[in-house]
């Protein structure tokens, strides 16, 4: 059974003030559509480490991550686990039309989710093309990310995997905080070494070793264990095995 999240004060947040208003599944909604969504929404918060829902559990809601980070993981009977999704603010959880969770959802940091009861949401989706359109777009983006990730899992070396993950997190962070600034990039790793290992299909020891190696080689600078500075993003992208001028052709 899913650990119950705290039901946050519903009045704490109006859609108009919502930090993910323009990137979440509701991004394209008109004011009247937003009002209708508002009527079926409620907030829940979870603490770092809490499991939001277990794979196979009944799931009577869908949700957007408002703040914090969560992970989607799959586990085999013998305990091997693979992360299959990293949920950042504005990302969507759950699948319309599916009543049971297909993956474990775990809060990596403290998180707040904006939940919608599933049935009303599904009904609303039929009548509100703006929601379905946005959800399609987001799902296509996730599919692209999953395919990029498949290349990482299937063909990259441990060092390239770590560099790829750092590049993904760094880029995402840069986009969020300091829109398109040049120069050295600094950010906090939102994942433990173990979570990084689950993301990359490695062991935590290998993650630790490769992070140390990238540090030793000057590709990254560490303050403590979590704060990362990338002096030269192109160098990092080279290490990741990515085309450093990714997709710049034409």
């Amino acid at each position: 059974m899913a650990t119950l999240g705290k039901i946050a004060d519903t009045h704490a947040l109006e859609c108009a003030d919502c930090p993910i208003r323009h990137r979440a599944v509701c991004a394209r909604c008109e004011p009247d559509e937003l009002d209708r969504l508002d009527a079926i929404k409620y907030y829940r918060s979870f603490e770092a480490g809490q499991t939001v829902i277990w794979s196979g559990d009944a799931m009577d809601f869908v949700a957007s991550v408002v703040s914090g980070i969560a992970t989607l993981t799959q586990t085999m009977e013998d305990g091997r686990t693979q992360m299959v999704g990293l949920l950042l603010p504005s990302d969507f959880v759950g699948r319309p039309g599916r009543s049971r969770a297909a993956y474990d959802v775990v809060a990596t940091t403290d998180i707040v989710m904006c939940c919608f009861r599933r049935k009303p949401f599904e009904e609303m989706m039929v009548r509100t093309p703006h929601i379905a359109q946005r959800l399609l777009e987001m799902t296509l983006d996730e599919l692209d990310a999953a395919r990029e990730w498949m290349l990482v899992l299937g063909r990259k070396t441990a060092r390239e995997k770590i560099a790829s993950l750092l590049a993904i997190i760094g880029r995402r962070d840069a986009a969020l905080h300091l829109g398109g600034k040049r120069g050295p990039l600094t950010f906090d790793l939102p994942l433990t070494r173990e979570a990084m290992a689950d993301y990359l299909g490695l062991t935590l020891e290998t993650v630790s070793r490769q992070v140390s190696a990238l540090k030793r080689d000057g590709v990254i600078v560490l303050e403590g264990k979590r704060r990362v500075t990338v002096p030269d993003m192109n160098r990092l992208l080279e290490e990741a095995g990515d085309d450093s001028d990714g997709g710049m052709l034409s």
Copy 2:
């Protein structure tokens, strides 16, 4: 530049007789919607081995696979390749709103595709919720498949990977040809050893060895190199590391 596929005779196939009519992106369309789709569609065929489109190329159409099998692959500068999609009849190629291909698309067998010019298709999608709904559903299915695949790539052994792939192909084939029959299952592998390796993040030598091992251990029976019989599906699923009663809870 993409190799030009033969433009097949447009009158060869009416939507009403189309083998993928009820599973493709047009599955939910009403007769009048189908008529409008019919007006912007054309068929193209490609021979086994032909590249349908190269990653980065301009792509002015989207399409459904009518018959045959194609693959989606990503390639690194040094030549390492990873398959990121296996396109079977009824699967959709291309992304509305994207003008350039993100992956190489290669015909593995002779294929026929039902193409729609991208712009008219996009316009139609806005006005025809049935198409967008179906595309969302198909994209969510693909995302689920990609996540399953991520577990395979990240955490399974070579033997488990091969067993997983055989199970996926076998199940798909069973669903297609002999709806839900019991007993031994026989099908043709639509992939070379090399393509299987690209799918699973292995070398072709390892694929060959593990196929031989599964044959030696009686998990599968081979006639020639491509025809596979699975005497006991549960045994194969065990070898794949999957819960043999997958998702049967409640």
